[in-house]
């Protein structure tokens, strides 16, 4: 088992292996994303029953919730990749961390935008300082910080390291931020406006949601792979195997 992990680690650390293996994965990931997306959206938009309170506006959930969940876990992945880079100096990890940042930020933005749009018909306002919303906004800022820091550093390598450090510090802080914001909000503000937290969901509503969540993760993997391959091409351009690709 350990042997196998070590081998996997070394393989993952090899840009060539990654580039070649993902060549095979891409069509499958794209297919799953496409089929899942189409199926989830058709089921969610057309077949799921309308919410008895919110009517059809609740259908935003099928993009909102997957995006929100993904945005949070992407930050974790980014920090872990950054840590791997800091500790073992694995270049691949740095590239992966670098590519996750803008994608995670995009999903964070999607969650915020769709949430805000959803808020208008449900709460009558685009934005309230609810705990969830606030911590999501702060997450977006953390993403922006990581990206801005990366591009501000003089050299690529110090950019990788700096943003990895920041991502780790942010990772420690996310639970603290979340906790404090939850606590602040439940204390300050009576629960006039809350995300609808229905304990149980209609199964017809739930299935498309699950499909969309899985699809979002697949799509995320696809995006990360595409961007990482670009980094590989750029940084390994002097290796003979890349030259072969360039010449073809």
């Amino acid at each position: 088992m350990w042997q196998w992990l070590v081998r996997l680690y070394h393989r993952l650390g090899s840009p060539k292996w990654f580039y070649e293996i993902t060549e095979k994965w891409i069509p499958w990931l794209a297919l799953v994303s496409l089929v899942g997306g189409v199926a989830g959206l058709i089921l969610g938009l057309a077949y799921a029953p309308a919410d008895y309170q919110q009517g059809n506006s609740f259908r935003i959930i099928y993009i909102h919730v997957p995006a929100a969940i993904l945005a949070q876990s992407a930050f974790m992945m980014m920090a872990v990749a950054g840590a791997v880079f800091l500790i073992w100096r694995m270049k691949m990890a740095a590239w992966v961390a670098k590519t996750i940042a803008p994608i995670g930020a995009s999903f964070c933005l999607i969650a915020l935008l769709t949430g805000a749009i959803w808020g208008k018909p449900t709460w009558g306002t685009w934005w309230v300082w609810d705990a969830r919303l606030t911590s999501m906004l702060l997450l977006l800022f953390l993403y922006f910080g990581v990206m801005a820091l990366h591009q501000a550093m003089e050299t690529e390598d110090s950019g990788h390291k700096a943003s990895a450090i920041l991502a780790l510090v942010g990772l420690v802080n996310i639970p603290i931020i979340k906790y404090s914001v939850d606590w602040w909000n439940t204390l300050h503000q009576p629960a006039t406006l809350k995300l609808t937290e229905k304990p149980s969901m209609d199964i017809d509503m739930l299935i498309p949601l699950l499909i969309m969540i899985v699809t979002t993760y697949t799509f995320f993997a696809l995006l990360v792979i595409l961007r990482t391959r670009n980094e590989i091409l750029l940084h390994e351009r002097k290796r003979s195997w890349v030259k072969k690709i360039l010449e073809s």
């Binding site: 938009l45 057309a46 009517g55 993009i63 999607i110 769709t114 091409l233």
Partner: protein
């Protein structure tokens, strides 16, 4: 199927604007995320192939220049 007609589907019972705005914006962001790496890939390949060609040319020139003296 929850909707009787396409028009109804679009209208989403008063909430059409919000639903479609949300999905529209998301689609834009997602499309950007999908297209950006693909376009970037093409750009990288174009640039690097050019660079390679330039280097090839230069090194072959140098060899040509060197040949008589050697």
């Amino acid at each position: 199927m929850q909707f009787d007609s396409f028009a109804e589907f679009i209208a989403m019972g008063r909430h059409g604007f919000y639903v479609w705005l949300a999905y529209g914006l998301s689609a834009l962001i997602i499309m950007y995320n999908l297209l950006a790496p693909l376009l970037r890939r093409r750009q990288i390949i174009r640039e690097q192939a050019q660079r390679l060609r330039r280097e090839r040319n230069r090194s072959s020139q140098v060899e040509n220049n060197d040949a008589p003296s050697a």
